[in-house]
């Protein structure tokens, strides 16, 4: 940073990014906050200032509160299961073996696919009568599972799809972390007579804490935005057991055209997302090695 501060140049270079982000984020956010205080219908227009009524109605609306609960349950479940499986895969692939260079790129293929393609595959696999999963289960003598129409199971089925699609991301992050641990640490531990489990808990995990939190942050925030999979797999059903906050906002805003309500729901969703982000970000910043 020893250049002379050339004001014009640096502003010119930064300006496009500033303008775009302001137009695409600040303006919309302010507008959403504004709309949330009105009774505004897309086709019929503005129908009056209602203050906090939209918010009050939402918090008292079973459909909304269930969607929030579903989303949080899903985010928690998806993140924790992906962390576990991703860690297992990362530990597995951290050892040098023949063909590893080829296998790692193969392991990350699921997250490269578009969510629509992933949903298409799993929609076919979850089919009760002819789906691949139930066919396999029946072939070994078990009963078929009601993947997408048992209200108690449907959300977990979607979490399973998310697990398949995004574990590779956790795997990559954690693998990078593992590979940055110098081999001497393991040797020293072995000399001291530590067994595998002790090595894992006392050396490996603490050293990749930052990576673990980063993975948890990224996956939680992503899982919170759940929309595409619900749209393609269940449409929010059965009942409202797979309704997420995003699908709720989508229905209110783009099907019933109640823009005021949808905006209020968006603000609530944003508040929760930001809280999650700040909590995690704090952990990540603290976990950094400088």
């Amino acid at each position: 940073m020893l250049h002379r501060t050339q004001n014009l140049t640096r502003i010119l270079l930064l300006l496009p990014a500033l303008v775009l982000l302001a137009a695409l984020t600040i303006y919309p956010l302010v507008t959403v906050v504004y709309y949330s205080f009105f009774d505004y219908h897309y086709v019929r227009g503005f129908e009056g200032f209602v203050g906090l009524d939209n918010y009050r109605n939402l918090l008292g609306d079973l459909f909304f509160t269930v969607s929030v609960r579903n989303t949080l349950v899903f985010a928690l479940l998806a993140t924790s299961s992906q962390l576990l499986l991703g860690l297992a895969f990362a530990l597995l692939f951290n050892r040098p073996f023949r063909g590893r260079q080829l296998f790692v790129p193969l392991m990350i293929l699921p997250m490269i696919l578009s969510t629509m393609v992933v949903s298409a595959i799993w929609r076919a696999w979850f089919h009760y009568d002819f789906g691949f999963l139930n066919n396999v289960l029946r072939a070994v003598g078990l009963e078929g599972v009601r993947w997408l129409f048992d209200p108690g199971i449907a959300l977990y089925s979607i979490a399973l799809v998310d697990l398949w699609q995004w574990t590779p991301m956790v795997f990559l992050i954690l693998l990078a972390g593992l590979q940055s641990i110098p081999g001497e640490y393991y040797e020293a531990a072995r000399i001291d007579g530590a067994n595998g489990f002790q090595v894992l808990t006392s050396i490996t995990l603490p050293l990749i804490k930052g990576h673990l939190f980063l993975a948890a942050l990224l996956r939680t925030v992503d899982a919170f935005k759940l929309f595409d999979k619900v749209y393609a797999l269940t449409g929010g059903g059965p009942g409202i057991s797979t309704e997420s906050v995003s699908t709720y906002i989508y229905r209110e805003g783009f099907r019933y055209f109640n823009v005021g309500t949808a905006s209020a729901a968006s603000i609530i969703m944003l508040a929760v997302a930001l809280t999650l982000t700040l909590v995690y970000a704090g952990q990540v910043l603290r976990g950094q090695r400088r």
Partner: protein, 279 residues
């Protein structure tokens, strides 16, 4: 054979099995996708779990091609390339400005924090105002309109990634050029670009994958059938009346091939990209 050696062999075997299971977990659905796209329609209602077709047919691909796949492919290409180009140019400017120039009052840290926040905002939250912005600009239901709104997705990532790559260029090289009388623009052009070229490529591919797979905004902001992108086209195949599995899997495979191939080139950078989140 000693007990230790036997145990090591066993360990090795177990690890090999575990690795094979991991690979199966990741790849089986994709292989099934490919296989099913070539199955004859009768096999879809079979109760046997099968991966490879018993009766090979390319009819689904022929139907797909006739039903407008090329047009949707073109749309996706236009939007992806457009969004990535815009993001690269804009993000490079921002990254360079942030790393090479001093900013007062920690504005640069603030800006980066803002970029992080943008990544965290759920896209649906700002969908309605964005809809109206597009309408005002006359960009609703147009591909350029999508290119603009996709900046919400691609710009933050590009800024983060390019930041790391630009930082890696040693300042001494640029200073040497400055001493030799090069202006900022010349320095950027002749020195910085070549050095970060692989980073640019990686960022471009990363951003392209994001734009290629995007669904929500394409669903909301485009309603003319001729302008649908591939994800929307795929969603239409998961229709109310028939689950046209052959065509569904076929179009899944076709639309994934470009990104699958590209990802092979950036596997290294994907790892680096995520590690970069910590810096």
């Amino acid at each position: 054979m000693t007990a230790a050696r036997a145990r090591r062999y066993l360990q090795g075997a177990l690890l090999a099995v575990a690795t094979a299971l991991a690979l199966t977990f990741a790849l089986l659905p994709i292989v099934w996708l490919a296989g099913t796209s070539f199955k004859s329609p009768g096999e879809f209602t079979s109760r046997q779990p099968t991966i490879l077709p018993r009766e090979f047919t390319t009819m689904h691909y022929q139907l797909l091609w006739a039903e407008g796949f090329p047009r949707r492919l073109q749309n996706s290409l236009i939007v992806t390339v457009g969004a990535t180009l815009v993001s690269l140019v804009v993000a490079f400017g921002a990254a360079y400005a942030l790393t090479r120039f001093r900013f007062p009052a920690k504005l640069d840290v603030l800006f980066l924090f803002w970029v992080l926040l943008v990544k965290m905002v759920p896209p649906i939250v700002i969908a309605i105002p964005l809809y109206q912005v597009l309408r005002l600009l006359g960009l609703l239901n147009t591909l350029p309109g999508l290119i603009v709104v996709y900046q919400v997705y691609t710009l933050p990532y590009c800024i983060w990634l390019l930041l790391g790559f630009v930082r890696d260029v040693p300042i001494e090289i640029e200073e040497a050029a400055a001493i030799d009388g090069a202006s900022t623009w010349q320095t950027i052009q002749r020195i910085v670009f070549p050095l970060i070229a692989p980073g640019l490529v990686a960022t471009a591919i990363f951003s392209s994958i994001l734009a290629w797979n995007e669904f929500l905004y394409a669903l909301l902001f485009v309603h003319s059938p001729a302008l649908f992108t591939l994800p929307i086209h795929i969603a239409n195949y998961i229709t109310e009346h028939e689950t046209l599995w052959g065509r569904l899997m076929g179009i899944g495979l076709l639309s994934s091939l470009p990104v699958l191939i590209l990802s092979g080139f950036i596997q290294r950078y994907l790892i680096r990209g995520f590690a970069m989140g910590l810096k």
